[in-house]
């Protein structure tokens, strides 16, 4: 009976197939009738025919009998299965009730592990798996290329055959929005009017933009986001058709987009048509922070479209009437699926969290497998009896699996409940701007995931112990089993080593993220962050189109703020560091790159600043002079540059007195000072070639909005009130927004990595605890099993310390083997972390060593209690029993 298939064959012999029975029954009838006819004197052929004739339609009847009997067989089997299930469930319930501590431990472990998995999966599902809420989302792509992002390029692409059904362009836009209430500063997007039709979405109320909305001279229009509509108007439908002031200009509200439409992210509060006027060369070919959204033509793959566009783009280099973007222009092109590119940076951390939480689940399963194994061993006598009473191996396996499935499913149900709480908490912790409303819900898909998880984990942690029990069952030699439990011990040790290996992987992941996070936050940004407050001040474009008016406004603001108590320095900057990316520009360099029709180099960042900016942020001047009041419109144009830029173009001489210029024919700017390199885009972005242009000498095309930087020891809220009062007293229509301490800005810029690190670290901690429980369990078992052997050893002169050392050594060797495997596994796995790490190699030896040490230390601690028990082994008792 060692071969399970043998038993199955035996059972099939007893239970004949229904078809054979039917054949036998009908054959007998025909034979008997035939014999009767023969006895009446018919010849064999006629007898046979007569029998068949009296019977009627033989094949028809046989077929009908098959049908009847087979459906009866199916019913019978189903009933048998159900009654087995009922019996197994009753049995499982009874045996779990007998050991409530096991049942509770197992259910709670499963509930936590499955709950965490379900929570993370709800987000994975909502953000990565659910298709975009747009028409035929598989056809939507973004096109990334090294182009200048001008309108001219998009028009050129649209007019050529590219394999695209349609292409749209979006550009961020900040506006001062006024509707006879508080003027507000809002972030949204310029879009080409075809965006909504390209995506296949419609406004919730009102209409989308007409095709001619981007014509020069067309009436100004705006589409509101659902959030703006509900926040500002409480969902009043009458707003559609009214006029509001956008940057001081009358603008018609044409519609409100549905809540599901957060394009390209839920941070977008409005959309306005991009004005397109090919006759305006400067506007059409200006560098822009543009994104191209396209719909592939039917039957065209993203790769083919990339290839076609890639063959067109380099040719656009000479279409640019203003300057030559360089020889590498247009050479890298890729059409990415829209969803992938919208999810963008959220993708890797989400997948990482999903992987980590899966590891937690696996470790939980291994732990439960171990616990179950110990139970099975304790119940070996029971199984032996059951086997002897005729319970087959299959039945036994099924019974034990029912038990573990019951635990897993109850755990899954509880986990689903935990996930409902988890999702609510996690939603609050999530970054607010996502590419779609992060409405992670516990829907049917998530429920199915949880159910599958329940079944799979139930089998995962139950199968091994069940098989082990079944293989032990037929043996009637119970003493043999209890004396040499070593196969069990080996299996348990292997399971614990697995657990340790996985815990090491998580510990290393958490360690790497933590170290990276520490590196990131330890970085000196190059400027002061304490006692510095920034705020956006946004005069509407309409009233402030003249530079002189704007200068007067800001001049008054700076003067009054500097006089305010507790203020030590004030400056303006068009885009403050760290808050958002600060764009650079192509630039001429006198004596090196003068010809705009040839490729020009690019500065990483260009900032427009007032003289007080550097002092307010505590940025010193390394050489030359600071900007001052003399650097005004009409005076000789000047600029400051960063050390990196100076070193790049003039490695062996001073940059002072050298000249740079805009990428079009314009007076040269003389470099009068050099400042240190500071972090500008983000803490982790080291690009530092920066150009600083004095505010008074800036190009009049730049938007009037500036950020104010204030160095102060005043209370932030008091300062904010003061700032608002001063601005309002100069011009009530100018909104002040985003008042934040620079420390907060910095902390906010690393909020996502902090969240990821925290979650992974807590997963690692859970795994570590599970690992400790596992080691404790296996060592207790070993000590219990070998009480006899330990006693003998003691009788032979081993001290109790020797025994303790023996037990701890065993734990350390198991943990060590697991840790080694975990390190090897991590070497392969942590490469996926590269994009999340800053300043730490994914194979950082210190982290690997640290994680290993922690696990071995945990192993030592977890084995101390069993070791104490080993020390109290009683040689007398051992010898008496032996």
């Amino acid at each position: 009976m060692s071969d399970p298939s043998l038993w199955r064959r035996y059972r099939d012999l007893l239970r004949r197939k229904p078809a054979e029975d039917v054949d036998d029954e009908v054959r007998l009838h025909l034979q008997l009738r035939e014999e009767e006819a023969l006895r009446q004197g018919l010849d064999p052929a006629h007898a046979r025919a007569a029998a068949r004739e009296r019977f009627g339609d033989v094949p028809g009847v046989v077929a009908e009998l098959y049908r009847i009997d087979e459906s009866r067989e199916v019913r019978r089997r189903r009933a048998e299965w159900l009654s087995d299930l009922r019996r197994d469930s009753r049995f499982a319930l009874r045996s779990l009730r007998r050991s409530p501590s096991f049942a509770v431990t197992a259910v709670v472990t499963m509930a936590i592990a499955i709950g965490a998995n379900t929570t993370i999966f709800a987000f994975v599902n909502a953000l990565l798996l659910e298709p975009l809420p747009y028409a035929r989302p598989g056809e939507l792509v973004t096109i990334d290329a090294n182009v200048i992002g001008s309108i001219g390029e998009m028009l050129a692409l649209r007019d050529r055959h590219t394999g695209l059904a349609d292409i749209a362009l979006i550009r961020p836009r900040s506006i001062t929005y006024d509707d006879e209430r508080d003027p507000a500063r809002l972030d949204g997007f310029f879009v080409t009017p075809n965006l909504t039709s390209l995506l296949g979405v419609r406004p919730e109320i009102g209409r989308a933009f007409n095709a001619d909305a981007s014509r020069p001279g067309a009436g100004k229009e705006i589409l509101l986001s659902h959030s703006l509509w509900s926040d500002r108007y409480g969902g009043d439908r009458r707003i559609v058709g009214r006029f509001v002031l956008v940057d001081g200009e009358r603008c018609l509200v044409v519609g409100v987009m549905p809540a599901s439409f957060g394009f390209p992210s839920t941070a977008a509060r409005f959309w306005t048509p991009l004005s397109i006027d090919p006759s305006n060369i400067a506007q059409t070919w200006a560098i822009g922070n543009s994104r191209w959204i396209a719909r592939l033509a039917p039957g065209v793959s993203a790769d083919r479209a990339s290839a076609t566009i890639g063959s067109i783009l380099p040719g656009l280099r000479h279409l640019n009437p203003l300057w030559d973007p360089g020889s590498s222009y247009g050479h890298t092109v890729a059409a990415h699926p829209l969803q992938r590119s919208l999810v963008g940076a959220e993708r890797t951390p989400l997948i990482l969290l999903f992987a980590c939480v899966m590891v937690v689940l696996i470790v939980a399963c291994v732990n439960l497998a171990n616990l179950t194994l110990a139970r099975v061993t304790a119940r070996e006598r029971e199984f032996t009896v059951r086997a002897a009473l005729g319970g087959g191996r299959g039945r036994l396996v099924r019974q034990l699996l029912t038990e573990s499935l019951l635990v897993a499913l109850v755990g899954a149900a509880a986990g689903f409940g935990l996930a409902a709480v988890g999702v609510r908490f996690a939603s609050a912790a999530l970054p607010s701007a996502m590419y779609r409303p992060a409405d992670a819900r516990l829907d049917v898909v998530v429920l199915a995931f949880t159910a599958i998880l329940g079944v799979v984990t139930g089998i995962a942690f139950g199968l091994l112990p069940a098989l082990r029990a079944a293989s032990a069952a037929p043996s009637t030699d119970a003493t043999h089993l209890t004396r040499t439990g070593s196969p069990h011990g080996r299996l348990t040790s292997a399971l614990v080593a697995t657990e340790v290996a996985l815990a090491v992987v998580l510990a290393i992941t958490a360690g790497l993220l933590t170290r990276s996070f520490a590196r990131l936050t330890d970085l000196p940004p190059g400027f002061r962050t304490d006692h510095v407050v920034t705020a956006r001040v946004s005069p509407p474009a309409k009233g402030y189109s003249e530079l002189s008016r704007l200068s007067a406004f800001y001049g008054a603001l700076l003067a009054r703020l500097s006089a305010a108590p507790g203020v030590y320095g004030v400056g303006l900057v068009d885009r403050p560091p760290i808050v958002a990316p600060v764009y650079g520009m192509a630039m001429r360099v006198k004596g090196q790159f003068e010809d705009v029709t040839r490729g020009l180099p690019t500065a990483d960042h260009t900032q427009i600043v007032t003289p007080g900016y550097f002092a307010a942020l505590g940025i010193p001047i390394i050489s030359g002079r600071p900007l001052d009041g003399g650097d005004r419109a009409g005076a000789a144009p000047v600029a400051l540059v960063s050390r990196a830029l100076a070193k790049h173009f003039w490695p062996d001489e001073s940059a002072l007195g050298k000249q740079i210029g805009y990428p079009w024919a314009s007076p040269w700017l003389t470099i009068v000072g050099v400042v240190p390199d500071v972090r500008i885009d983000s803490l982790r972005d080291p690009s530092a070639m920066a150009v600083y242009i004095p505010f008074e000498q800036r190009s009049p095309r730049v938007a009037p909005e500036m950020s104010i930087v204030i160095r102060t020891d005043a209370d932030p809220t008091a300062l904010e009130r003061q700032l608002r009062d001063i601005v309002a007293s100069i011009d009530r229509s100018v909104p002040v927004t985003a008042v934040r301490g620079m420390d907060d800005v910095i902390a906010g810029s690393v909020a996502k990595p902090r969240l990821t690190t925290l979650v992974v670290a807590s997963f690692a901690l859970i795994t570590l605890l599970l690992g400790a429980v596992g080691i404790y369990g296996v060592m207790s078992y070993v000590v219990g099993q070998r009480a006899h052997e330990l006693g003998v050893r003691m009788a032979l002169g081993a001290t109790s310390l020797d025994l303790a050392r023996h037990v701890v050594g065993r734990a350390v060797s198991v943990a060590g083997a697991g840790a080694a495997a975990g390190c090897a596994l991590s070497l392969a796995a942590t490469r996926g972390l590269t994009s999340l790490l800053y300043g730490v190699s994914p194979t950082d030896p210190a982290t690997f060593a640290g994680a290993t040490l922690v696990l071995v230390a945990v192993a030592v601690v977890a084995s101390l209690v069993p070791a104490r028990r080993a020390m109290s082994a009683d040689p007398v008792e051992a010898l008496r029993r032996g």
Partner: protein, 115 residues
């Protein structure tokens, strides 16, 4: 000789129940008993007996066991269950009432009332 009166649906089950009231039998002997009992007046298509038997097995009116036939061949014997016995009582009572009603009509001499 054989006046062929076709079976009405349902009647065959009643006959089977009656045949089995003498004790367990296999299909062929049921067929033969019915023929004999009816003095060969009823023309039974023997094949139709089996689906009826199997359905009665589903309904729990009869129980089947495998055994050996007269000259030791494997045969399926049918046996009335308690429910089958009850069924025989109610079905035969219904049959008699039905037959009596039909007979009464056929023997009637009353002329229909004309409107």
């Amino acid at each position: 000789m054989p006046t062929t009166i076709e079976f009405r649906h349902g009647a065959i089950e009643l006959l089977i129940l009656k045949a089995l009231s003498w004790g367990p039998q296999h299909g062929f002997s049921i067929a033969r008993w019915i023929q004999d009992a009816a003095d060969d007046v009823l023309r039974l298509e023997e094949g139709s007996l089996y689906p009826a038997l199997h359905r009665m097995e589903d309904k729990g009116w009869v129980r089947a066991t495998w055994g050996a036939s007269e000259n030791n061949r494997r045969a399926k014997f049918y046996q009335l269950s308690a429910r089958g016995r009850e069924q025989l009582v109610t079905d035969s009572r219904d049959w008699w009432r039905y037959a009596a009603a039909v007979g009464k009509v056929l023997k009637s001499t009353a002329r229909p009332a004309t409107a």
